[in-house]
């Protein structure tokens, strides 16, 4: 039994791009101070985290293996990073600032780079745009790893730029997927309820 669903990667890429552009531009020092993490962490948790998690879990039903792996992984990243900033905001823990050595986040960034390059290679089979977005994101993670482990604002700035570039291509990937879906030839009844026909 084949069950059609809307492409979850649209939400996934939109949520990923939104979190990336906020965090990447902040990490690159384009705007804000250390205190601004208290203002943007809820958005990271809820859209970057839960938004992508929903997309990832619907990715299983959509038979979208890359979407499930990519968005599930990065959903976890934003949930975790958001929780770090939440605990920092409540003064439960001390969170290193930009340009400080942050070894644990450097370690996480290494493995997110490896995982994201893996999903990028998988995406290359069907989605060149997705490959570029994920390739940039994996590279950004590698630069972030260098920045956090070394306490280098230079590497962090570079990572921020790459996060923003990845955000731009991720947005384009989601936007393309949304528009290209109009060219599907779905199985549907003309006058059915939503689900029986495409859309509301």
């Amino acid at each position: 039994m084949l069950q059609p669903v809307a492409a979850p990667s649209i939400l996934g890429y939109f949520a990923l791009a939104s979190a990336l552009i906020i965090y990447g531009s902040w990490l690159a020092g384009w705007w804000g101070t250390e205190k601004d993490t208290a203002a943007f962490f809820p958005f990271l948790i809820l859209f970057g985290g839960f938004g992508q998690l929903a997309a990832a879990l619907w990715g299983y039903r959509a038979r979208a293996a890359v979407a499930a792996a990519l968005h599930g992984s990065w959903a976890a990243f934003w949930l975790g990073l958001g929780l770090v900033y939440l605990l920092g905001t409540t003064h439960t823990i001390t969170v290193p600032g930009r340009g400080d050595v942050w070894q644990s986040m450097g370690e996480w960034s290494i493995y997110f780079a490896i995982i994201t390059w893996t999903t990028a290679f998988a995406a290359l089979a069907r989605s060149p745009l997705g490959f570029v977005a994920q390739g940039l994101l994996g590279t950004a993670s590698a630069f972030a790893a260098a920045g956090f482990l070394d306490g280098s604002t230079g590497w962090e700035d570079l990572a921020g730029w790459f996060f923003v570039a990845a955000a731009a291509v991720a947005f384009a990937t989601g936007a393309y997927t949304m528009v290209s879906g109009a060219h599907d030839e779905p199985v549907q009844y003309e006058h059915g309820d939503p689900g029986v026909k495409v859309g509301q």
Binding site: M1, L2, Q3, P4, V5, A6, A7, S9, G49, L53, A56, L57, G59, Y60, R61, A62, R63, A64, A65, V66, A67, A68, A69, G72, S73, A75, A76, F77, L79, G80, L81, L83, V84, L87, T92, I93, T94, V95, W102, Q103, S104, G106, E107, W108, Y111, F112, I114, I115, T118, F121, A122, A125, R126, S127, T177, D184, E185, P186, V187, V198
Partner: protein, 248 residues
């Protein structure tokens, strides 16, 4: 038997023929094993002293472990039921709960509710966590003998590693704990390989990373050991929406 009593309506109906719906889903193991890989590498290498400090690192380390090794792996484990994967449904879910529980423990430590002693001090209350993890993960390795070598390697090294870690935390022996952590590192690398192997085969429609199938012992054809080989033939309505075909 007609004993004169009124019969319910359905008694006069023919038994309906049984139907089985097979519903394809993307492989949940990749996300689950990626979460396991990253979380296990970060925490095991910290235990081994490759980076960080004993008390300074956990407060900013546990959050992503709880979300990635925990929540994401748990979700992948639950989806493994739909994938009809008995090993994944049991063990990804179990390890997902472990990482969430560990994250909760570290959160309580960060808040000050509990104090976590160093590795060379006995922690029997934490050591006992690893007894069921050891038993069930090792048993999973026994089942994986019929699957593929990478998955078998993950489960065997992690299962045995749990035994060492349980002994290490029980006795306050950092040496035993570090032996377990080394086994975890090996298992984590095998987990990345297994996740990538499954993901790439699904995405490309052919084998990219060899499956490590031992002929006659494992269920899959040894063809799966040859890069470029096609080992799956998905049922697809090519022009339809995601779900009726594989999607990106």
């Amino acid at each position: 038997m007609d004993d004169g009593r009124p019969q319910p309506d359905e008694a006069r109906l023919e038994a309906p023929s049984a139907r089985i719906y097979l519903t394809p889903v993307a492989p949940p193991a990749s996300l689950g094993l990626f979460g396991f890989f990253a979380s296990t590498m970060v925490v095991s290498t910290w235990i081994l002293g490759w980076w960080g400090t004993p008390t300074g690192s956990p407060p900013t380390m546990f959050e992503i472990a709880a979300a990635f090794g925990g929540l994401a792996q748990f979700a992948a484990g639950v989806w493994s039921f739909r994938a009809r994967d008995p090993i994944g449904s049991a063990l990804l879910t179990m390890w997902g709960t472990y990482w969430m529980a560990w994250g909760l423990l570290q959160l309580f430590a960060a808040i000050g509710f509990v104090t976590i002693p160093p590795l060379d001090v006995a922690q029997p209350g934490f050591a006992v966590w690893f007894i069921p993890l050891c038993v069930f993960t090792t048993w999973g390795a026994v089942a994986a003998v019929r699957e593929n070598l990478p998955l078998f390697t993950v489960l065997l090294t992690v299962g045995v590693g749990c035994g060492f870690v349980a002994g290490g935390f029980w006795a306050g022996s950092s040496t035993w704990t570090k032996v377990g952590a080394w086994l975890f590192v090996i298992g984590a690398c095998a987990a990345w390989y297994t996740a990538a192997m499954v993901l790439l085969e699904y995405a490309w429609g052919r084998v990219i990373l060899p499956f490590g199938v031992l002929p006659k012992l494992m269920k899959m054809s040894p063809v799966a050991n040859r890069p470029g080989a096609r080992i799956s033939a998905p049922v697809e309505y090519a022009l339809g929406q995601p779900g009726t075909r594989r999607a990106t």
